[in-house]
């Protein structure tokens, strides 16, 4: 590895599935590409998800996460992307210009375009305002999998798992791999978040699943000794030596918050158009930084599309970013991505999530007229989509998404 380049056609921040897929596509178009990854190894979150299913659509075979991550890195490197690990981006500037640091200290690098693919992280114990003491042994899935898969360290033997998202079951698989069976799985809602068949997993592995149950307080001095929970049967303490806090993902936007880029409160990610272009059109974004949370495969496809969009943009083949149509999230809508529709292509769809369980019609209206509508019976964690083809070419102003609830 020579010195970090001080310029590239495309600089990609984040070497997970979205960033690496974008790198591969941009290289195919002949662009010079630098991928900046702050971890010691590229590949992203799949690196420590030591279970299938990964890679079926990308590589035509079923893989475990680490194999998939290595394959992604190998493909991007073979395509000629300059993948730099141990490089942390400190600030984003217009230009586009990035302030970065590594072992050589801080300096700036420039690019013709920048792609932000920084992914997501789970909500911490602090972010959840959970009560109790602060012993060792309270981890998010990400930290747990880092310990178990990368280092072979097992932090506890009888943990409680909070959450029933897909990632929660990924945590169960990781623990199972380490020979650990959780003593309980807790879900504050009345039904599991993830859909069948994952929701069958606790029963298959004989892990008690407690619905309508939340953590009141974590107990223990040096290490966790128990978890005080409140559920349908009142309050009680479950003896345990650890807590895995799963899911409640949020986009990793620490870099974007102090920057000049517009963020969307609903999605938690940067504002983008259908090409993944940010409010500063020199910046693009793809993958889970756009919204919590989709699979690695989804992020890969989103990254690939963004890589192609950047190549088209640099070739002068991308329509102007403005005038655009703004998509506003109305009553009942948690998020809609992209938030802007620029002139040009109408492939793809709006990704939509609701903010509570809802039954009725999802309606996209423009100038007081419904341009698209569909019947829904959905919950916040479920993916909804509205085809962009429903939006007339040349529309500007604001189109509003709302839910008309069934009586």
């Amino acid at each position: 590895m020579g010195k970090l380049p001080d310029h590239a056609d495309l600089v990609i921040v984040g070497g997970g599935p979205a960033g690496l897929a974008a790198a591969i596509e941009a290289r195919k178009a002949g662009l010079s590409v630098a991928v900046l990854e702050r971890e010691p190894t590229a590949g992203g979150i799949p690196r420590h998800c030591n279970h299938p299913p990964y890679g079926v659509r990308e590589f035509g075979r079923l893989m475990k996460g680490p194999t998939y991550a290595r394959r992604l890195v190998a493909e991007a490197a073979a395509a000629g992307a300059d993948i730099r690990t141990g490089v942390t981006v400190l600030a984003l500037h217009s230009g586009p210009r990035l302030t970065v640091t590594d072992n050589c200290g801080a300096r700036d690098i420039t690019a013709r375009r920048v792609l932000l693919a920084t992914g997501v992280r789970e909500t911490s114990r602090a972010g959840r305002l959970l009560g109790g003491t602060k012993p060792g042994g309270i981890l998010n899935t990400g930290a747990l999998q880092g310990l178990v898969t990368l280092d072979g360290l097992v932090p506890f033997q009888r943990p409680v798992i909070l959450g029933t998202e897909l990632v929660s079951f990924s945590a169960i698989l990781t623990l199972r791999h380490a020979g650990v069976r959780p003593v309980a799985m807790l879900e504050p809602a009345s039904t599991p978040t993830a859909r069948w068949p994952s929701a069958m997993l606790p029963r298959l592995l004989r892990i008690p699943l407690h619905l309508g149950t939340d953590i009141v307080a974590i107990e223990g001095e040096q290490r966790v000794t128990g978890v005080r929970v409140r559920g349908p049967g009142g309050e009680r303490t479950i003896p345990a030596d650890g807590v895995v806090l799963t899911g409640r993902f949020r986009p990793e936007t620490a870099l974007m918050k102090p920057s000049h880029l517009a963020l969307d409160a609903g999605s938690g990610g940067p504002v983008v158009d259908q090409y993944g272009r940010c409010s500063d059109p020199d910046y693009f974004a793809a993958g889970n930084v756009l919204r919590p949370v989709e699979t690695a495969g989804w992020s890969f496809r989103e990254g690939a599309a963004a890589g192609r969009a950047v190549a088209a943009d640099l070739a002068g083949d991308l329509p102007a970013a403005a005038p655009f149509l703004t998509i506003a999230a109305g009553e009942g809508i948690k998020l809609a991505v992209p938030q802007r529709i620029a002139p040009g292509a109408r492939g793809g769809a709006l990704q939509v999530r609701v903010d509570r369980p809802l039954r009725g019609r999802l309606v996209l209206s423009l100038a007081g007229k419904a341009v698209a509508s569909q019947r829904i019976d959905t919950r916040p964690e479920r993916r909804l989509s509205v085809p962009l083809s429903a939006i007339p070419q040349g529309a500007t102003g604001t189109a509003t998404l709302t839910v008309e609830e069934a009586a």
Partner: protein, 467 residues
């Protein structure tokens, strides 16, 4: 196994033994060492600052609101002045934000003149502000401000680097630190103390009890009776992520009540925004459990003060215990015929008053201390800067890359904190020295890496061994 760091103290004779390495103990160690004493500091925890000093609001108070004419007011004023005098030499930050005492009700507004008068009597300049002037200084304040006054000299510091620096200066000038060394008893005879500890006995001419939350118990152990009674008072805090810091330029203080200064909103030296503390009485001296409902309440309180906080993320929550007693005052008790001083009841103002307390205790001890000659040319070390007000290691070459991405802590910083004579002995000690694990992800990204780096180097491993 942690190294036995205290072999050099066993069986030795010291001029001054200080029990407790909190902020007060560290300041005392520095003072007595510079004054020429042979000092030993005895700490029962695996690392220093592990009791009351591990959690506070990190403000360097002027003492404008201290009870007029009290020892507390004097010590805060002297401590504040000495910190200002020495912080640059030790590499410590001083962020002079100033504070606003804000009245939100008619009753609070009516109390402002008396508070300003008390501040003037304490020798602290203040300036009254109208509601409009207040909003001009702090446009993010919520509706309902009636008036305020500004205390220009109230500042933000790093609550751990400061005592670490005091201790380091003491150490480099000859003091001995013994961690994991709980005092189990002691006898005074022939003009000196023999202290029994978990790691052997040692002799000292003078004993100073700076045991904080355990001060009355230490008194009882060594004197047979205690001159005060510790009544732990818990304070819970919520820390917002860095983008929130721009919402408050000043330390935003409420009009205080009889029992507490109330809930403060202020920046931290690391660029976060802090809200707290609560004031809750409890019996437990060791644990300060967080309460989810109280934390939600703090969030709500913070959002009435700064409505824009509603959109900001919480990075961290923590709780500390103040070593309050059955009385409001500091409880300094000198037992001259046994060469003993207990420094008790140092509640919320310990961080600000520590250097002043050390000056005061040095004077109290002088009559029965051995003859001491102040060091002619003491060593002045600097501690690594981890605050946002000065350059950080991640900007410099040779930093070996970043380990904690949220707080931008480098591998070189972690390695430095884990090595040397005052090396971190616990995860908590490592956090206080470097900020690892204290950022927005709370270990999501760096726990695994830190477990690897710290393996075999801490008294309690991050990941327990399972045989």
């Amino acid at each position: 196994m942690a190294p036995t760091i205290c072999v050099e103290a066993s069986g030795r004779a010291f001029d001054v033994a200080i029990i407790g390495a909190g902020v007060v103990g560290c300041a005392l160690a520095r003072r007595f060492t510079l004054d020429g004493a042979r000092v030993v500091i005895l700490e029962k925890a695996a690392d220093v600052l592990d009791g009351a000093s591990k959690a506070n609001s990190a403000i360097l108070h002027t003492g404008f609101d201290a009870p007029v004419g009290t020892l507390e007011a004097d010590c805060i004023a002297a401590g504040h002045a000495e910190y200002r005098e020495i912080h640059a030499r030790l590499g410590l930050p001083l962020i002079e934000t100033g504070a606003l005492v804000i009245a939100w009700t008619e009753a609070e507004e009516a109390r402002l003149p008396a508070l300003m008068e008390a501040a003037r009597q304490n020798g602290v300049p203040v300036a009254p502000l109208t509601a409009a002037e207040t909003y001009a200084l702090e446009p993010a304040l919520g509706p309902g401000v009636r008036a305020s006054f500004r205390v220009a000299a109230e500042s933000i510091i790093d609550p751990w680097s400061a005592p670490h620096a005091y201790l380091l200066q003491a150490f480099l000038n000859g003091a001995t630190l013994c961690r994991a060394t709980e005092v189990t008893g002691g006898t005074y005879e022939d003009g000196g103390w023999t202290l029994a500890t978990r790691r052997g006995d040692l002799r000292a001419s003078v004993v100073i009890n700076a045991a904080g939350l355990y001060g009355d118990l230490v008194d009882r152990q060594l004197l047979g009776e205690a001159s005060f009674q510790i009544r732990p008072r818990k304070g819970q805090f919520v820390v917002y992520d860095k983008p929130a810091a721009s919402l408050a330029a000043h330390i935003l203080l409420p009009v205080p009540t009889e029992t507490t200064k109330g809930v403060v909103v202020c920046q931290t030296a690391w660029g976060n925004l802090l809200v707290g503390p609560t004031a809750e009485e409890q019996d437990d001296r060791a644990n300060a459990p967080l309460d989810g409902a109280v934390l939600h309440g703090l969030r709500q309180k913070a959002e009435t003060i700064l409505p824009a906080l509603a959109g900001h993320e919480v990075n961290a929550v923590y709780a500390g215990l103040r070593p309050a007693t059955e009385e409001k005052n500091y409880r300094i008790n000198r037992v001259a015929d046994r060469a003993y001083v207990s420094v008790g009841g140092i509640r919320s103002t310990g961080l600000s008053a520590a250097l002043g307390l050390a000056q005061h205790v040095a004077e109290l001890v002088r009559p029965f201390a051995p003859q001491m000659v102040p060091l002619a040319d003491p060593v002045w070390p600097t501690v690594p800067n981890i605050s946002e007000s000065a350059p950080r290691d991640y900007e410099a070459p040779g930093n070996c890359g970043i380990v904690c991405h949220c707080e931008l802590v480098t591998r070189r910083e972690v390695e430095a904190a884990l090595s040397g004579p005052l090396a971190a002995q616990s995860v908590a000690g490592l956090k206080r020295r470097t900020r690892v694990l204290m950022g927005r992800c709370q270990g999501f990204y760096c726990s695994a890496e830190l477990a690897r780096i710290t393996e075999g180097r801490l008294s309690e491993p991050m990941v327990p061994p399972h045989g």
